[in-house]
């Protein structure tokens, strides 16, 4: 059984004039110790997908349908009280901006001890020892000193290390990291990603990494899912998708990267922009920007088809697979 299994999740935002659907029919699973990447551009719904796992989408957002099974229990149906026992304890989160996550008026030590004591009945001294151990794990220089410092006394990279240490405090099963390195410089970003990857491997923690950076996904994750306009349009093993993307949107995203083109040449570009939730096109949401769009794409959302180990929601891919199958049949 998978550690986490999300089935047909729909999330909506109740606004004046009706609901906006932010997530539609999201299904995926995460095994113990597995690293999964959620990729997409802003507005694709990747953060909403991650936040709704812990029911952290604020009003007017709500989970309209679907199940979120963590070790067989449905998080979507749990009371706030039960959820609190899981948040930060069994499933930890790392957010983009470390300065927004840390309380500016409490020392690092106080915040860490508080987090431990919220979940475990142990003395302050014991909690402090755990905090110190985690700070050592994230390789912060002079960890004892850091416990008594305030967040503003640390640099951005160090703050993000503290955040990772806090996420590890209670030995979680899953860490959900939402763009954990986007606010950092390139060299610091590389170090933090490296650290997160090593810790997840050492402690056998599953990682859900939300990012827009395909390079990072390729370095860190084993499986990935690509989101567009609230839907998963492609999911499968990371290497397989990066090397041979099936969905025209994923192909476009990869080919638009400057490292894919010859220096000085025009870059491949997907025309247009992601639609806003207020006017998601009918049928496949990508069809107005897609080179292969047909009448069919404008009217109904394609079902998932399997190509290799990858699931893709695209009529064009489905047609290609069908043609190939017919050709093979004709040959035999």
């Amino acid at each position: 059984m998978a550690l986490l299994e999300v089935k047909n999740l729909d999330a909506r935002f109740a606004v004046r004039g009706g609901d906006l659907t932010a997530l539609r029919g999201i299904s995926f699973s995460l095994d113990k110790g597995e690293r999964l990447g959620l990729v997409g551009e802003s507005g694709a719904g990747k953060s909403v997908a991650a936040f709704s796992i812990l029911n952290l989408i604020a009003k007017p957002g709500y989970i309209a349908d679907g199940q979120i099974l963590f070790e067989g229990r449905d998080l979507a149906a749990m009371s706030e009280r039960e959820l609190r026992g899981i948040r930060g304890n069994r499933i930890a989160m790392i957010f983009q901006d470390p300065m927004m996550t840390l309380n500016p008026v409490l020392t690092i030590g106080t915040q860490m001890v508080e987090a431990i004591q919220a979940h475990r009945k142990i003395s302050k001294k014991e909690a402090r020892a755990i905090a110190l151990d985690r700070l050592q794990k994230v390789q912060i220089p002079s960890p004892e000193k850091r416990l008594d410092q305030y967040p503003h006394e640390l640099s951005g990279g160090m703050r993000q290390r503290v955040i990772i240490a806090i996420a590890l405090l209670l030995d979680p099963e899953i860490i959900i990291a939402d763009e954990p390195t986007t606010a950092l410089d390139v060299t610091i970003q590389a170090e933090i990603m490296d650290l997160l990857l090593n810790l997840c491997e050492q402690e056998n923690v599953a990682l859900m990494l939300i990012t827009h950076d395909l390079g990072v996904v390729s370095q860190v994750t084993q499986r990935m899912l690509v989101m567009y306009s609230g839907r998963i349009i492609e999911q499968g093993p990371t290497r397989e998708i990066i090397n041979d993307a099936q969905h025209p949107y994923t192909q476009g995203l990869i080919n638009a990267l400057p490292q894919m083109g010859e220096p000085g040449d025009r870059l491949f570009q997907i025309p247009g922009a992601m639609p806003s939730l207020k006017n998601v096109p009918k049928g496949c949401p990508f069809h107005p920007r897609c080179r292969f769009a047909t009448e069919q794409c404008k009217h109904s959302m394609p079902e998932y088809v399997r190509s290799g180990n990858v699931d893709v929601a695209c009529y064009e891919v489905a047609n290609l697979i069908e043609q190939e199958r017919q050709m093979q049949e004709a040959e035999s």
């Binding site: 551009e41 802003s42 640099s155 990279g157 160090m158 410089d185 390139v186 060299t187 610091i188 970003q189 590389a190 170090e191 990603m193 490296d194 990857l197 827009h212 950076d213 395909l214 390079g215 990072v216 390729s218 370095q219 860190v220 290497r239 990066i242 476009g252 995203l253 990869i254 638009a256 990267l257 400057p258 490292q259 894919m260 083109g261 220096p263 000085g264 025009r266 870059l267 491949f268 570009q269 997907i270 025309p271 922009a273 992601m274």
Partner: protein
């Protein structure tokens, strides 16, 4: 070699932190002392921008790359050094004398949500610089110019009566580019013009900038932290660290044979699609504060090759066999 379009000589910029005289005075050990502190944002930068090229300045936050851009544009006045445009010193000009250069030099900013006036329509946004620099133009000439630039950046001229907030980030950046192009500049300073945009939109805007360069013969000073973009877009690259240029080379040379230890670390830190794991060169520590600059080479505290000389003596840019210029004692001595 022809003379450069823009040349920067010994540029220095300090930002004073200590406030007025009263705030500077402290009482220490029975005596009054005057204490002055400053952020040393740029410490002696020499750069030439050749006509028709795209010179990229890369570095991490706090390295002074944006300050270089702003000082060149005259948005900040330098604390030391000179800036020349087409042979004429421009950093000491003001008012009327600076006017012709303000038309020839235009800037594109990082955040198109902040750089467009929310109370002005697109028509007004584009009209303002044209009317300012060409007071003698007729309404028809102005209108034609606006149509021409809107068309060239891929914004429908019929949308002129809309406001900035009605557009997406990518479209806003197109409008900001149109505003820069409206007065037919020769030289454009672009400060992180695509970092606030999504991947698929970044490609659109980069293509637009390259098209504009080709059709209008523009020269760019392009500020970015994204080395992948530099490799694609830049003619030459200057790598900055703590207010100094540590390596200057042709793009192809820099990416093929990076010499400065910092450039090597920076290049290795780009996450690449073909990587299965992060494999970057580890640097010790973090960037020191530009308030108290390290002695000698500014990079010595994090450099695996630093020795006594690096700690004492500031390295100058010297030419290498590959035609690059590197400020590193280890490269000069052949240790690296």
């Amino acid at each position: 070699m022809t003379s450069p379009l823009v040349s920067i000589r010994g540029l220095e910029k300090r930002f004073d932190l200590s406030g007025n005289l009263l705030e500077q005075i402290t009482f220490e050990g029975g005596r009054f002392r005057r204490k002055q502190e400053a952020v040393h944002a740029i410490n002696g930068v020499d750069l030439d921008v050749q006509r028709g090229e795209a010179l990229c300045v890369v570095g991490e936050s706090g390295c002074g790359k944006s300050t270089v851009a702003r000082t060149v544009m005259g948005l900040l006045s330098p604390s030391g050094g000179e800036i020349h445009y087409d042979g004429q010193r421009i950093d000491n000009l003001d008012g009327k004398d600076a006017l012709p250069y303000r038309r020839k030099m235009q800037m594109i900013f990082q955040n198109p949500y902040a750089s467009l006036n929310p109370r002005m329509t697109i028509q007004q946004t584009l009209e303002e610089p044209i009317r300012f620099h060409h007071p003698d133009w007729s309404d028809i000439e102005v209108r034609d110019k606006i149509h021409e630039v809107m068309h060239s950046v891929g914004i429908d001229p019929d949308w002129g009566s809309r406001f900035g907030h009605e557009f997406s980030g990518g479209q806003r950046q197109r409008i900001a580019i149109a505003r820069a192009l409206a007065v037919d500049p020769e030289f454009i300073v672009a400060d992180e013009p695509i970092s606030a945009l999504d991947v698929s939109i970044q490609a659109q805007v980069l293509n637009l900038l390259m098209d504009a360069q080709e059709s209008r013969g523009l020269t760019y000073l392009f500020i970015t932290h994204d080395l992948a973009v530099v490799e694609h877009f830049g003619t030459r690259v200057a790598v900055m660290y703590l207010g100094r240029v540590c390596e200057l080379a042709d793009t192809a040379t820099l990416f093929a044979t990076p010499r400065h230890p910092y450039t090597q670390a920076l290049l290795s830190a780009i996450p690449k699609l073909e990587d299965d794991r992060p494999n970057h060169i580890r640097l010790q520590g973090e960037v020191p504060t530009p308030v108290n600059l390290p002695s000698g080479c500014v990079f010595h505290g994090r450099c695996p090759y630093a020795n006594e000389r690096c700690r004492a003596e500031v390295p100058e840019l010297i030419a290498t066999d590959e035609g690059a210029r590197v400020a590193c004692h280890a490269v000069e001595e052949g240790r690296l």
